[in-house]
């Protein structure tokens, strides 16, 4: 897994699944990173990969997400796991997005991965765009915003 300052996504492709992962060190308190990831209405402000996000990010919560990957499509997702300042998982029948925070001495290691797949995956795999650039941008936006807040004196 990459643990870099400048996030670089990695995609692993298999016949029946595809998994994209990105990691980045963030020099900010884990509570700030967690707050940024879980305050749904605020996410489009700092995250340039999200067009809109409605609903509540909490255990069992339902959210509707529009991403720059496909602005015409609304993803209806369920929050499957919600462990404060550690792990957040949301997804649908196609796959799951996992966010994890690992506290470090100077901040937190943020990781995000998404696995999609299933028996019919080979039929539509080519229609699904690459997540790499979007993941890198997401991680870079999160790092920038969290470190700005951490350093704020205002």
């Amino acid at each position: 897994m990459n643990q870099q300052t400048n996030p670089k996504a990695v995609t692993e492709k298999r016949m029946f699944r595809r998994e994209t992962t990105v990691s980045v060190n963030i020099e900010a308190d884990s509570s700030i990173v967690w707050a940024l990831l879980t305050h749904a209405s605020d996410i489009p402000r700092w995250n340039s990969t999200v067009v809109s996000l409605t609903g509540e990010i909490r255990e069992g919560g339902a959210i509707e997400l529009k991403s720059t990957l496909d602005e015409k499509r609304v993803f209806k997702l369920k929050v499957k796991e919600f462990v404060p300042e550690k792990r957040l998982v949301w997804g649908d029948g196609m796959g799951s997005r996992v966010y994890s925070l690992d506290k470090k001495s100077n901040g937190v290691l943020f990781s995000m991965s998404e696995k999609i797949g299933g028996p019919l995956f080979p039929l539509f795999a080519k229609m699904i765009p690459s997540f790499d650039r979007s993941f890198e941008q997401f991680a870079a936006d999160l790092k920038k915003e969290a470190e700005t807040i951490q350093g704020s004196k205002k």
């Binding site: 900010a28 308190d29 509570s31 700030i32 707050a35 940024l36 305050h39 209405s41 605020d42 402000r45 700005t148 807040i149 951490q150 704020s152 205002k154």
Partner: protein, 264 residues
């Protein structure tokens, strides 16, 4: 701290406390009730005050908790609150009759644009999540430090930073999009519109040059304009100003409209 010292010290910041709760609740009645309840609680719990913070910080913490208890179950207002309330007021001649009556007869019935700017902020800031609104007011209007706000809200300083950064960013964005005083493309002109109704002989432009935020709008950054907006609130006591009765009447109207709009 003894009980005989509590009262005179409480009185030194009672006005600030009352305006803070008014700006949280948008209700004179709630502000008065919470200030009274805060005093009673402070009196009853005075033996638990260890002096780890100032008495003012400790009292604001009690008041903030009471405000949170009251507001937690209530819906937040939409950012378009002033548009919605304007539409309602146009269909409510009684509102304008009462307002004009206050304008003509009350010693606190003046209409001043900067007072309306403060009222507008009170309404729009109720669109922020509760904790963010609390943190923003405590820092930007009432001058508490990060550490003091963390103590008042029982949060870490990191979370207070998050609340402040997010709420400031949001409010800067909302006012930049809406307020025609700072952005020519802004869609809201209510303060100058109302000035024309309540002060028909006054030229709005002449009034606006007296307001630093409006006068310097083209030369200042969005951040600086927000700081100037906060300065207006810092300098205004919504209960004591020369426009207090008129503005409180307007605020009460907006609160009632919002309760109806939100089905509360």
């Amino acid at each position: 701290m003894t009980t005989d010292k509590l009262t005179p010290e409480f009185e030194t910041f009672q006005g600030e406390l009352k305006s803070f709760i008014l700006r949280m609740t948008a209700s004179v009645q709630d502000a008065e009730d919470i200030v009274q309840e805060t005093y009673i609680k402070a009196h009853a719990k005075l033996n638990t005050f260890r002096g780890e913070s100032s008495l003012k910080t400790w009292v604001f913490s009690i008041a903030s908790n009471l405000a949170r208890d009251l507001l937690r179950s209530k819906k937040r207002w939409p950012e378009t609150v002033t548009d919605i309330c304007r539409e309602e007021s146009l269909g409510n001649p009684q509102f304008f009759q009462e307002a004009l009556q206050i304008r003509q007869t009350s010693p606190q019935g003046n209409f001043e644009i900067k007072e309306h700017i403060a009222l507008c902020f009170t309404c729009v800031s109720k669109s922020l999540p509760l904790e963010q609104q609390l943190a923003l007011l405590l820092k930007e209007v009432y001058g508490f430090s990060m550490k003091e706000i963390a103590s008042i809200l029982n949060q870490t300083e990191a979370m207070v930073k998050y609340y402040l950064h997010t709420s400031r960013s949001r409010m800067i964005e909302v006012f930049d999009q809406r307020c025609s005083l700072i952005n020519k493309q802004g869609i809201c002109h209510q303060c100058t519109e109302l000035n024309g109704i309540f002060n028909p002989k006054q030229k709005a432009q002449e009034e606006l040059v007296k307001i630093e935020m409006a006068k310097d709008a083209e030369n200042k950054s969005k951040e600086e304009l927000f700081d100037l907006r906060m300065k207006i609130l810092q300098e205004l006591d919504p209960f004591e100003s020369g426009a207090a009765e008129l503005q409180l009447h307007h605020l009460e109207h907006n609160r009632q409209v919002m309760e109806k709009y939100l089905g509360e």
